[in-house]
Symmetry: C4
Subunit: 266 residues, 4 copies
Amino acid sequence: MRDDCWKITQFGKTPKLNNPIFIEGLPGIGNVGKVAVDFLIDELKAKKLYEITSYTFPHSVFVNEDNLVELPIVEIFYKQSSGKRDLLLLGGDVQPVDEISSYEFSDKVLDIVEKFSGKEVITLGGIGLAEIPKKPKVYCTGNTKKIISKYKNGLVNDNLYGVVGPIVGVSGLLLGLASRRKIEAVSFLAETYGHPMYLGIKGAKEILKVLDKNLGLKLDINKLDREIKDIEGEILKKTEQLSEVTKQAALKRLQKKLGKELDYIG
Amino acid sequence: MRDDCWKITQFGKTPKLNNPIFIEGLPGIGNVGKVAVDFLIDELKAKKLYEITSYTFPHSVFVNEDNLVELPIVEIFYKQSSGKRDLLLLGGDVQPVDEISSYEFSDKVLDIVEKFSGKEVITLGGIGLAEIPKKPKVYCTGNTKKIISKYKNGLVNDNLYGVVGPIVGVSGLLLGLASRRKIEAVSFLAETYGHPMYLGIKGAKEILKVLDKNLGLKLDINKLDREIKDIEGEILKKTEQLSEVTKQAALKRLQKKLGKELDYIG
Amino acid sequence: MRDDCWKITQFGKTPKLNNPIFIEGLPGIGNVGKVAVDFLIDELKAKKLYEITSYTFPHSVFVNEDNLVELPIVEIFYKQSSGKRDLLLLGGDVQPVDEISSYEFSDKVLDIVEKFSGKEVITLGGIGLAEIPKKPKVYCTGNTKKIISKYKNGLVNDNLYGVVGPIVGVSGLLLGLASRRKIEAVSFLAETYGHPMYLGIKGAKEILKVLDKNLGLKLDINKLDREIKDIEGEILKKTEQLSEVTKQAALKRLQKKLGKELDYIG
Amino acid sequence: MRDDCWKITQFGKTPKLNNPIFIEGLPGIGNVGKVAVDFLIDELKAKKLYEITSYTFPHSVFVNEDNLVELPIVEIFYKQSSGKRDLLLLGGDVQPVDEISSYEFSDKVLDIVEKFSGKEVITLGGIGLAEIPKKPKVYCTGNTKKIISKYKNGLVNDNLYGVVGPIVGVSGLLLGLASRRKIEAVSFLAETYGHPMYLGIKGAKEILKVLDKNLGLKLDINKLDREIKDIEGEILKKTEQLSEVTKQAALKRLQKKLGKELDYIG
């Protein structure tokens, strides 16, 4: 573990959480997971607990609406509710890209889940289709049959085999790595349009309905579209910025890489 | 050695093995080595001993037929046989791709061979041809003349010089690194069709015949095709998942972008 | 932190600096930042304090006008002025390219700023346009509103939001990482032509005017063009050496190869 | 320094060397340096002192004429001569490709030079032209004016500025890094044809003449062509094998890289 590459900053005191459910939604296909979790964080007025930055994140800063710079970050929020299980919510600007960083990040996140004696993890993501789906279906998979049947709840399709290829990135690794720690984990994946600049809001809504019903969140479904409208601008701005910088960085790295390979051949 | 990147989990007690022969067959050209070793593991009812995962493996999970997720893994099995030398069998979903990971992995595997006082290593692989071979020939090379003449046995061609380029990946490195530990190692390479989605079953059969004769395994050759049929579906599914989903689309999109951008940069 | 990858050599004794302002200008878009800082170093007769080399810099040496080889380096100079705040000036041949190196470098630089109890950082860079700007505008952003309003001074546009994507590399990271150390930081970015071989001298001049007024440097603006003329040759030589030799040929050769191979693989 | 990535094996006892000159010639443009040093090693019947392998070298093995596998290696030989300065000769199959490995390797080599109190380093390489040169010119550069004038000897052109871009790889870095250790270093670069499969024998001969005169080696120039004929086959075989594997590896890494970048964007 390259611990120096990761900085985790805590905000406020460590809360006592009641058997918390951990929910992850990072940028990915259609940003479906990110849109859903960002909505939950706003809507539930969750409190910020951790901020994660990393030397493995893009080496660039965003310029925000106040004309101030911001490092790319990932954040963990929590929401306490009397009489119900508490929530830990993970959202952010980026997700680690390469293999090692992605594994390291996922293990660090699971350390946090264990710190709060979390026993369940839910990851959210998209399934990229060639066209915009009219009514996106939600699928689920998990690391035990028990948690799948607990959460599928008549709302989702639990036969992903053959529907998607592997689940790439943190949404997938959290499930795989959690099972070694005896943490049950389930993933909800909504159909969306697989274009880089498409924001899978419809898919996110379907996932939010599933979460609402499963977790008894009493979300105001009518507020969804309005709220998401606000988030949309912000996300697309960053996505656009990020995709610009990533294109540039990708090209630069490609050039470097190609330079090297061919130097070597030549 | 980036030890944190490798997790080796043992299953059950450490068995006592009688002068074991270590046989490796990982994904590679035509998946010839993988098909052969997977068949041996099934057919010999070998017992699982180790499971290896790594931060250097793909950062994704598979969805299996039970709709449960699985991390990509490599496994080592063993087979004890009274009166004969025991076997250690290495198979898996992936093999490390980059230089450092491939060397690290091979050295870790040889540590295990030494732990069981193994003195012989056999690696299996394919030689990619431009066409599907009617009757694939099997070639062998090794790290001593002695082990080559011991195993070639009239069945294989021992003149690889000029036939193949270097042997890439774990199948090659195990031979090179073993010779420093005074472990003799031989590699059997069967001709196959060099297309990414082609499964070199015929080549694997030829290799299995060579192993059967050399090691006195008494494999039921008639069962081969049936058995391999089952393995085939599974392997192709994973290969397909690993190779197709993101790669193809990604490459196409990037090629377009590069077309423009590199003209400009270059 | 991979400390072995970084070598920082000090020249002479550690000076006592009076509340120093740290100014960074490394190669980047239009080399605007580099041109400006290199001019400041020459014009103010700043003294060399540190030389930084890194295993992450290009693995090659330049041949200079005296036919002697030079490793690619980054340098930090200082300028003491009685009655005014002192300056620390960072310039160099290269900037770290990949994520981790870029973060590591920026943190090492901020360590130096803190060593001299520096409280303000100024980074310089370019905004690449599709055409050569007649009269380049200068924009600024920062990590606090206070430092932006202190330095914008009627000379610059402080609304970068939407004008640029993220600020990539050291110029951006220094701002983001400084804010965690309670160091205020501002970035001046001048419009320039976004072509790799274009030298953004006009943009650099606009930035120098802003610095001159803000910091009371009393630069001889008439000398600028002459001075920059000298620097220009040197910079372009190195830029050309760095960018052209292998890159262009390499890319062309690879593109050809890829054309064929990827059709096959993909 | 990732020390685990490097294995240096010594052969025989440490010899006492008389003020040795270190000469490097690794694969590179036209393999000029490699051809020259391999000839010196054979012709002078130099003795093997060190064998270097590395996790950063290609993860593959060669198949040699005896049908045995060989890891890619770099070797250091020495030659003692009564009444003259002794020689250390560095040759090999590969050179480290990426930045960090190339710097690490060069520093490890200079450690060895210092171990034998070596005060002079000579590196050999090629300058790639667009056509096959009839009579290749030899250029030189170095890290002090003193060593250049000592060795140029009326035989070589000492004005490389503007003739080549940066000197990439070990041949360049050894010069740059040596100057920090107060080791003088010079590089001889012969013109050659810049095609990957071209073997710059003519250029190597010109360099050998320069070395012969400078170091009083009394090489049998008439033997050169014959000797080189033998080496040629071997080198081209490995070069071919290496260029095949590198092409494959390059493509694989490219695919991985592209996959990642686009996953991230997408």
